[in-house]
């Protein structure tokens, strides 16, 4: 049972492993001769000034809210997408249209947000 998750575990391990190896191998294997110039911001970067806890524009919030709504949509699509074969076998085209009606209704919301300038920066 749990063995079926083995590929996921392996992917997970590969992802974590790559991140760890990539981060630390340069530190472990690379020659280290630090000087102040090297630690400054590189070329086009801006020198850090002030705190990182500054307030961020409220405009980002609109993005966050719309993101949540679309994220919730994914939750409802996910079981349909993974089990579509079974559903189609049992219910035929109705399985297809049940999701299409949902998506059409939902896309009205998307189109509405687009038309109203919900995705515009201003």
């Amino acid at each position: 049972m749990l063995e079926t998750y083995l590929p996921i575990l392996l992917t997970f391990a590969a992802a974590v492993g790559f991140a760890v190896v990539a981060t630390f191998s340069s530190e472990w294997f690379g020659p280290q001769t630090p000087n102040p110039e090297k630690h400054s911001t590189y070329e086009s970067g801006v020198k850090p000034l002030g705190t990182t806890k500054d307030r961020v524009s409220i405009k980002y919030y609109m993005v966050a809210m719309l993101f949540i709504i679309f994220d919730l949509e994914v939750v409802f699509v996910y079981p349909w997408a993974t089990e579509f074969g079974t559903l189609f076998g049992e219910h035929g085209v109705a399985a297809f249209w049940s999701m299409m009606i949902f998506l059409i209704v939902f896309e009205f919301g998307y189109l509405y947000a687009y038309k109203k300038g919900g995705f515009k920066w201003a």
Partner: protein
């Protein structure tokens, strides 16, 4: 997924409103200056849905794997929601123009809130109640804050959202416990197992949490704190919508969960309901006396009316259930009429809302004054108007159910409430007016208010046949 054409026709009221949401969005997206079009489209599609729900009232049945019902009490409630919201759409047109409110989103949200209410009333499954509740509540939160430039409107929206989300939490928790103890979400299964389930503490706890969550929505004491601020801060037609059909939807959910009690099962929550009803009636009636702002006064009055309707639940009698539905119909239209007139008198800057501002209206606008008097008489429960018979039926149910004292508290609080309702009438006809206030009477708003007035009179003149119709479906 057995879905037939019969299902579609029986669920036509819901389908009409759902389609209207999408059409209204399309109209708003692709036309400029669509204010009038949208208003009329909303009103007419809601009236069409109201007509269809009454037309199909005898087509009782369950559809779509038994998660929704049609016909009977469901359709009567659908009529209240759609017709009431249609009246709101009529009174909104002039108000929206006057206050430069955002119109497109407004009508879309009104329609989508009605869709949520209809789902609640049609529910045969806890999941449908929840989805409907969310649909209605989300629309209301946004509607309360639709006049975003006004601080009061934003405050109302935020308060309503925070407390509403909190209340939804109670409802979901209650549903989880009901599901956990009964093992089902189907209301009919719960109904048949109810006599056994009430002996389980977890089930009763779930029931109590469910009721508390909806007690927030109906603004019953001690869960009423949001109501005065929200009704005052929201645009007046929105306050009308929330306090009438929105409240009716929450009562519809309570009717569904208390169905077994009306069948004769033990009312496990009687002490709780009786206390909440008593507190709501007395608190609402007494605090309303001190209000100068008409919208606040109507908010406290709506708290008291929630108390009267809860008597119907506490009684545990089938006549109580029918009485509650009758009361909902009556209350929806008398309150909507009152809010409609307030919306006409109110200025764009939200002045002319105090009781004193209405001084002299009796001579300067006799028609408006007469209509407002009618609604005030009806709200205070003076026969032969709708409000009287609403109270009569729930009080009778309480007496039959052996809770005579609750009916007596109801009578006492009605007597108190006569004072503040009639004060408005007295001020209108006998008060001295210093300021000659401006008000805008449009034919459309007047039409909406007149329709409400006609229904209030009709319900008062023919209470017997209407309550018989409702009772035949409740049994």
């Amino acid at each position: 997924m057995e879905f037939t054409l019969t299902d579609l026709t029986h669920l036509l009221p819901i389908v009409i409103v759902a389609a209207s949401v999408l059409v209204a969005m399309t109209i708003d997206m692709f036309t400029k200056e669509a204010d009038k079009t949208l208003g009329w489209f909303t009103a007419l599609s809601l009236f069409a849905a109201a007509y269809v729900s009454l037309f199909f009232v005898d087509k009782t049945g369950v559809h779509l794997s038994g998660v929704v019902a049609s016909g009977g009490a469901t359709n009567i409630l659908h009529f209240v929601f759609t017709f009431g919201a249609g009246v709101v759409a009529l009174i909104s047109m002039e108000y929206a123009k006057k206050t430069e409110m955002r119109v497109g989103e407004y009508y879309v949200l009104v329609l989508s809130s009605v869709l949520g209410m209809m789902l609640i009333a049609a529910a045969k499954d806890l999941a449908v109640i929840f989805v409907g509740l969310e649909q209605m509540s989300i629309s209301f939160y946004a509607l309360a804050g639709i006049r975003r430039k006004r601080d009061k409107s934003v405050e109302a929206s935020l308060k309503y959202f925070l407390l509403g989300a909190f209340a939804t939490g109670f409802v979901v928790y209650g549903m989880a416990l009901i599901y956990g103890s009964s093992g089902t979400m189907a209301l009919d299964t719960i109904r048949y197992a109810f006599p056994d389930l009430v002996s389980q503490p977890l089930f009763v706890l779930g029931l109590a949490l469910f009721v508390i969550g909806f007690a927030f929505k109906i603004a019953a004491v001690p869960f009423h704190m949001w109501a005065p601020d929200v009704y005052q801060g929201s645009p007046t037609p929105v306050a009308g919508l929330m306090s009438t059909v929105g409240k009716a939807a929450a009562f519809a959910a309570l009717l569904l969960i208390f169905r077994p009690v009306f069948d004769g099962a033990e009312n496990a929550l009687f002490p709780f309901l009786a206390i909440v009803a008593t507190l709501s009636m007395l608190y609402g009636a007494i605090v309303a006396i001190a209000q100068d702002d008409l919208k606040r006064m109507l908010a406290y009055s709506s708290v008291a009316h929630a108390g009267y309707m809860l008597i119907g639940f506490a009684s545990g009698e089938a006549t109580g259930a029918a009485g509650v539905i009758y009361y909902l119909v009556a209350y929806a239209f008398m309150n909507l009429g009152a809010f409609g007139i307030i919306a006409m008198i109110e200025s764009a800057e939200e002045t002319n809302l105090k009781v004193q501002d209405y001084a002299g209206l009796g001579t300067r606008a006799p028609a408006l004054a007469a209509l407002l008097s009618l609604f005030m008489f009806a709200l205070s429960g003076i026969p032969p108007l709708a409000g009287f018979f609403g109270k009569y039926y729930v009080f009778i149910a309480a007496v039959e159910g052996g809770a005579t004292w609750l009916a007596l508290v109801g009578v006492a609080s009605s007597a108190i409430s006569v004072y503040f309702y009639l004060r408005v009438v007295v001020v209108m006809y006998f008060g001295k007016s210093e300021n000659r206030m401006e008000y805008s009477v449009s034919n459309v708003s007047l039409l909406g208010v007149t329709i409400s007035a006609m229904l209030v009179i009709l319900l008062g003149v023919l209470p017997g046949s209407i309550i018989k119709l409702i009772e035949s479906f409740v049994r």
